[in-house]
């Protein structure tokens, strides 16, 4: 993604702050409070959380497997 040096004029600190709030509120509504919290964690922590979640689900017998149809939705 673009770095700060290439930031367009419209992307002011105020706009970024506004977008951050829009994003957070949407994540809470769409994914729930816990996943919204996870989505705003630093990458390493987020990946660790997802890894623990998947491992736990597999231990409990959750099936993640997708069909092999020769084409992807």
């Amino acid at each position: 993604m673009n770095d700060v040096n290439k930031r367009p004029d419209w992307l002011t600190a105020e706009v970024l702050d506004h977008l951050h709030h829009v994003a957070y509120d949407f994540h809470v509504r769409a994914f729930g409070e816990e996943m919204a919290r996870v989505n705003f964690l630093p990458l390493a922590e987020r990946r660790r959380y997802v890894a623990e979640m998947v491992d736990h689900a597999l231990r409990k017998g959750v099936k993640f497997n997708k069909l092999a149809l020769g084409v992807t939705p």
Binding site: F26, F31, R47, R48, A68, P73
Partner: protein, 307 residues
């Protein structure tokens, strides 16, 4: 000790790193990319984009890629061979490492479904860029749409105006427009965004129309491939060599049958305009009048498919 997800993730990233060291352009997409971009999704399967011209080289790499002592196999009888001709036509090749307690699945495709720009131009670390990943989320699965919207906001936060193309939540659209002006170039690509200017109360209906349209378009697209794969599937299923433990033999068998029975680009054969018209007609049956008046030109999302 079962293989842990973190090890699996490292394995797939290592596969990408090794491929790139051999000059193969590839990138992880879908669920694993979403985790990296801050929209966590519980998935253990890896979807990988690989430039079609490198399909042969990538297959060779897979043939050397052991995971917990297991070598990969083609998964199922519906899987086309990993070959440039079929990747260019939008097919996906499925692979499996049969690891105890955690089968590892890898899906390889050359063209990102609905991708309007070549994905290889916008790779972000191990991953396809968020614009490509977001376009791929316009599926027939309801659960994918919030991921598209969340990636859209991420793009805007990164200064990429194409984020506007992925906001499929009415409230997010309205609140975003309170602080950011939607550029005319984005309105040209997605006409429904013109309704933000009022704001116009028809926007909510237009967004519903878009989602229903993309949903129907994806269903129809999948059906075209499902119909096209049947003769090939029957031939592979009836061929005892298809289950040979060697990936090389599995590939040769699939290639032999595919060259006789599997059209390389069924969507092009079917007709993109026809597909779009049918999706519009189907969507129209479930929506109020006017909901489809603001649809984008979806033809651009199939322009990378080779005939």
């Amino acid at each position: 000790m079962p293989l842990a997800y973190a090890e699996l993730e490292r394995f797939y990233e290592g596969l990408v790193a090794r491929a790139r060291s051999r000059g193969i352009q590839c990138a992880i997409t879908s669920g694993m990319a979403c985790v990296a971009f801050g929209v966590a999704q519980a998935t253990k399967d890896c979807d990988l984009l690989c430039v079609p011209d490198s399909a042969g080289e990538f297959l060779k790499l897979l043939g050397e890629a052991s995971l917990s002592g297991q070598m990969p196999q083609y998964r199922g009888h519906l899987t086309p061979p990993l070959d440039a001709r079929w990747l260019r036509g939008g097919w996906t090749s499925h692979f499996l490492w049969n690891v105890p307690h955690l089968d590892a699945y890898l899906d390889v495709f050359g063209i990102a479904p609905r991708g309007s720009v070549p994905w290889e131009l916008e790779v972000d670390g191990f991953y396809a860029g968020p614009h490509t990943v977001a376009e791929m989320k316009r599926t027939n699965r309801e659960r994918d749409w919030p991921f598209a919207t969340a990636l859209g906001v991420k793009l805007l936060e990164a200064g990429d105006p194409r984020g506007w193309l992925h906001l499929f939540n009415y409230e997010v659209l309205i609140r975003t427009a309170e602080a950011v002006r939607c550029p005319a170039a984005m309105v040209a690509l997605r006409p429904a965004l013109a309704l933000l200017a009022g704001p116009d109360e028809r926007l909510e209906l237009a967004v519903k129309g878009e989602i229903e349209f993309w949903n129907r378009l994806d269903q129809l697209r999948m059906k075209v491939y499902e119909r096209a794969v049947r003769p090939f599937m029957v031939a592979v299923k009836g061929d005892p060599r298809a289950g040979d433990p060697s990936l090389t033999v599995q590939h040769a068998v699939r290639l032999e049958h595919a060259e006789r029975l599997l059209p390389t680009s069924p969507l092009r054969q079917y007709g993109i305009d026809r597909l779009i018209a049918e999706a519009q007609a189907q969507a129209g049956r479930f929506l109020s009048s006017g909901a489809l008046d603001w649809l984008p030109d979806a033809g651009g999302c199939f322009s990378l498919l080779v005939a």
